[in-house]
Point group: C2
Chain length 294, copies 2
């Protein structure tokens, strides 16, 4: 396994415990901002390897890093059999919402086909169908980690809520695991201002331990509104299970202000700040299993 | 002409004066750092267009922007006939200096072939041969602007110096224009520390107006050492003509400390700071001519 620059140390350790030989790229940034990498050739003896990377922080640079790594591997005659992208950035622009827009995730994954890569392991991807239809050469394995995250921490769950209809399949998977009910909130996003509004909805959560399930928490706006709605409806505890916790801007404060009890997340990115209510769960066993199957 | 996000306003104005219809992309950054663009479809009626972009600042994001623009054009059924990249970043990693390194510029231009782009206009590219041999589908037009820059400002030139052997063809082109002598300095760069050393060399420049010619000034280290050597050898005035003036870090101070008289540069990037000795020359007539020929 070749690990690119921003892969969390806990993933590297985890993969090693799973029996993989993990080699890390050598990298730096030049004073003008350009990214540089080198593959420690002498540490790689196989002719086919796996790449593990994550597309945060510096999402654009991360895609550039992946293209550079693929070119470097070509230079030493090694093929990337499969690429695990722990957090796949740019996946929310998964269709042309307005004319003249790109399908960003297709534009950024398409270059992989230049290197005959045809297996991708991703964690809770936002836009499964897009990649399948736009970049047909790529076979995708999507890890849905919510049940694993819930069980790793061992929380009590009475009800599962998706903050919008798009996250319903995630809520369903957790609800079935715990044999409890689930529902979703109607979310409206103004595509110009980006502002989020959540419709009033009757939620039967009085006195219950509710878990909100989603794929990404970025600025925390959607999650904070969902938590607020749940406490208003009488929930006794509100947990969140969100695969990728970017927590940009004042997201941490926003979630504390609405009284979040616990946020369970996967170690798909490096967390620079870990407040007491943030539980980061190592998902390297899931990644290892997906790589072995690919 | 579709102008991407970081093209200087002076280039856009210049191309318009040259008779081109220039349309600018709509762009923003999401709070988590992802780049977004949209092509104003209604302003484009042609089925084939030119793209103009520059790869600074945020070099990695600029390549991502170009891929997104190409995917967006595909979405509206418009072909990019030719792409003018005013400043082509990542061009200094133009070979595998060490085993396990990528040829970065090849890795980043190769995705253009996915969109059937086969004409590239560049300004004073560092690595002409690499692109020609590594990305064969691309036909390159390289603008060498030094004589144009010198004549635009109207300086007196007695002698031309290249700060290293690689820049000799640039010095030659200016020297021939002015019918004066030229030479180069021996530069040694430690590939690990990045430190630059210039060998002592006899230079017959006493009392002369000398112009140092190069492609890129980044941190200013090489240029400052050349200027120092020239004053030490008795030059009366030292000008520099450098196509791309990135001037990162404390480059401006470094050049002032060695007493630079004038730095003439092209408007291939946006200059946030323009000290009195920096003359930015509009090269849009050269870009327009190259686009018309492609």
């Amino acid at each position: 396994v070749l690990a690119l620059s921003q892969v969390p140390a806990s993933i590297i350790d985890g993969l090693r415990k799973q029996g993989f030989n993990v080699v890390q790229v050598v990298w730096k940034r030049f004073p003008d901002g350009e990214f540089y990498l080198r593959i420690p050739k002498d540490e790689i003896s196989a002719s086919e390897i796996f790449i593990v990377t994550t597309m945060y922080p510096e999402q654009s640079e991360r895609f550039v890093e992946l293209y550079l790594a693929l070119d470097a591997l070509r230079g030493i005659g090694v093929k990337a059999k499969s690429i695990a992208i722990l957090y796949l950035a740019y996946a929310r622009q998964d269709k042309r919402f307005l004319p003249g827009e790109p399908i960003s995730i297709a534009a950024l994954l398409r270059p992989l086909t230049l290197y005959a890569v045809n297996e991708l392991v991703v964690v809770d991807i936002h836009a499964y169908e897009t990649i399948a239809s736009e970049v047909k050469e790529l076979n995708i394995r999507n890890i849905l980690p919510h049940s694993y995250l819930a069980k790793s921490v061992g929380i009590k769950v009475d009800f599962v809520l998706a903050p919008d209809k798009g996250a319903l399949h995630r809520a369903k998977s957790v609800a079935e695991e715990y044999n409890v009910g689930y529902d979703y909130l109607e979310k409206f996003r103004d595509r110009i201002s980006g502002e989020i509004r959540i419709s009033e909805k009757e939620l039967d959560v009085r006195g219950k331990h509710v878990v909100v399930v989603d794929d990404i928490v970025s600025t925390g706006g959607t999650l904070a509104k969902a938590i607020e709605a749940l406490y208003k409806a009488g929930a006794s505890k509100v947990y969140a299970i969100v695969t990728h916790a970017l927590l940009v801007g004042n997201a941490i404060k926003k979630l504390e202000d609405v009284g979040i009890d616990m946020l369970i997340t996967a170690n798909t990115i490096i967390h620079s700040e870990v407040p007491s209510w943030l539980r980061v769960v190592d998902i390297s066993p899931l990644v290892a299993e997906a790589l072995r199957r690919s």
